[in-house]
Symmetry: C2
Subunit: 129 residues, 2 copies
DNA sequence: GAATAGCGCTATTAAAAAGATAGCAAAACA
DNA sequence: TGTTTTGCTATCTTTTTAATAGCGCTATTC
C-alpha cells in the first residue's frame, strides 16, 4: 500500500474511523451510515436504477451539492455506490445487500409511527410548525 | 404538557424533519438515525442492560458529553430510549425492535469487510489527500 | 456550428453541529 | 461528614453542513 499521507482516511473496514480505532466492520459501517444524508442517499437508490447526482440532490432535498459529492465519494470508496457507465450513480452488489440488511427499518418505522402516535402525542404535536 | 420549549422540534413520526417535510416514518427514522452517534449509542445499548451516560460515553469513545446528551434526549423523545429507574439509560420495547431491525447490519458489515479486503485497495489509498 | 440544456463538480461564505475540557449540583456511598 | 459517582451544563475551538453561484464538459437542437 502506497498511502503516502493518511491525512484523509477512506472509510473502509479495517481503517480507523471517528467511532473506533479498531476498524471493526460494524463500527466502520455505523460511522459511515451515521453521516448526514448517507442513509437517505442509499434509500433513494433503493430501486436499483441509475440516478444522476442532480436527481439525487433533488429527491433527497439537498440544497448544497457539496455534501452530496462528499458523501457519494465516501460511498464509492466504500464500494457501496458506483459510477454508472455514461454517468450517474447506482448501488453496487454490496450496496444492494446493505439495503436489504436495513430493509426491515421501513417496516419498523411504520410500527413505530403507529405506536408513538397512539400515545400522548399531543404534548409534542403542537411544538411543530 | 406545558410544552416549555416550542422552538425545538421533536423527532417523531408525523413531524417534519430536516430530511423531509412529509413526516413519513421512514424519513424521520433515517434522519434520526443519521445523526452522529445515534446508531452507535443504540449499538452499545444492544444488550438490554441499563447503562450510565458516562459508561455510554466511554464505550462509544465520545469525548464531549454535549452531543451524547443531545442524542439521548432525541432518542428519548422518540421513545426509543428511556431513563431507567435509579439512573442510567436503556432501550424501550420500541428500541429493542429497532435494534432487531438493523441487526442484519452487523452480518452485512462482516461480508462487506471480507469483500472489500479482497479487492485492490491501492487504487484508493493514492486518491486521498 | 452556435445556442441550449443537462451533467458532475468546485468555490465561497455563513450557519450549524460536533469536539474537547472543565466543572457543578444532586444523589449515592463511605 | 467527606468522598465518589452521575447527569448534565458552560465555554471555546474545530469540523461539518447549508446556501448560492458558476465553471468546464458533453450531447442535443436549431
Amino acid at each position: 500500500m502506497t498511502l503516502s499521507k493518511s491525512t484523509k482516511k477512506v472509510i473502509q473496514p479495517g481503517n480507523a474511523v471517528r467511532n473506533s480505532q479498531s476498524g471493526q466492520p460494524i463500527m466502520v459501517a455505523l460511522d459511515l451510515l451515521g453521516r448526514r444524508w448517507a442513509l437517505r442517499i442509499l434509500w433513494e437508490l433503493r430501486h436499483g436504477d441509475t440516478m444522476t447526482s442532480r436527481q439525487l440532490q433533488k429527491d433527497c432535498d439537498i440544497s448544497s451539492p457539496n455534501v452530496l459529492t462528499t458523501r457519494l465519494r465516501e460511498l464509492r470508496e466504500a464500494k457501496i455506490v458506483a459510477k454508472a457507465d455514461g454517468g450517474g450513480y447506482l448501488l453496487t452488489a454490496e450496496g444492494k445487500q446493505l439495503l436489504q440488511a436495513i430493509a426491515p427499518l421501513a417496516e419498523w418505522a411504520d410500527r413505530w409511527a403507529s405506536d408513538v402516535g397512539r400515545e400522548d402525542l399531543t404534548c409534542y404535536s403542537k411544538s411543530q410548525k
